[in-house]
Amino acid sequence: MNLQSPLNKVLGLGSAKTGSGHWWAQRLTAVALIPLTIWFTIALLGLPVGSHADMVAWMAVPLNSILLILLVISLVYHSNLGVQVVIEDYVHGGMKVAALIAVQFGHIVLAVAGLYALIVASIGGSS
């Protein structure tokens, strides 16, 4: 005999579980990406892409470093959440788990690589 109340059953065994956290994080990163990507798009137009030394100097400017770090974090997080949903919707069976793991690891590598580059650039360690 089950003495669990219907409410308790729903609270404990809802199908969504961590879904609202995922949903909310996707919105938060989306909102953060609006000003960050607009800033980067405008900055891109004036970037000295022809000169490596000037690019290093640009990346080392504190404000640019900080904004790029924020951009990398929100971009990679948002991408991770989005691609995860796409895989959950279209990939099935064993492939689904493999794809989810690959995407998760890939995004962690991406975030670490981006942050590493920006930290190195801001402390002036690049050649």
């Binding site: 919105r27 798009t41 004036g46 290093v56 971009l75 991408s79 796409v86 690589a113 590493y116 050649s127």
Partner: protein
């Protein structure tokens, strides 16, 4: 595993995606996903480009050279459209999240606005970029 017990081919499926006509609303919805996936690949290139800057002049010139090639430029053009589209349609989604703009007419209008915005911004951005502002 669970597949054997769960997925029975003869069960009715919902929401019968195949019967819907392609209109502005559902077309833009799937394009939002596709541009999102493309932008994830773009993020890979973006971060590779950042890493190349600190990896030294040679690595940077290799990556920048690739982006400056015809194929690189075409891909950047595609990513520019994907970005402006995903940005504008993402804002559209955020308005829906707070419960605004749900009327059929409004949703249709905002859909066309997103389309016009992303094409116009892509052209505008590349006009400025090629002029070397």
């Amino acid at each position: 595993m669970g597949r054997k017990f769960m997925a029975r081919g003869d069960r009715p499926l919902s929401p019968h995606l195949g019967i819907y006509r392609w209109e502005i609303a559902n077309s833009l919805s799937i394009v939002h996903r596709m541009t999102g996936v493309m932008l994830s690949l773009g993020a890979l290139v973006f971060i590779g480009w950042l890493v190349s800057i600190v990896a030294g002049a040679e690595a940077y010139e290799f990556v920048q050279g690739g982006l400056d090639s015809l194929l690189g430029r075409l891909m950047l053009l595609g990513w520019t459209f994907c970005f402006f589209y995903h940005l504008a349609n993402g804002v559209r989604h955020l308005f829906w999240d707070i419960g605004a703009g749900f009327e059929k007419r409004q949703a249709k209008m905002s859909g066309w606005a997103v389309m016009i915005f992303s094409v116009a911004m892509t052209l505008g951005f590349w006009t400025l970029a090629l002029q070397g502002v």
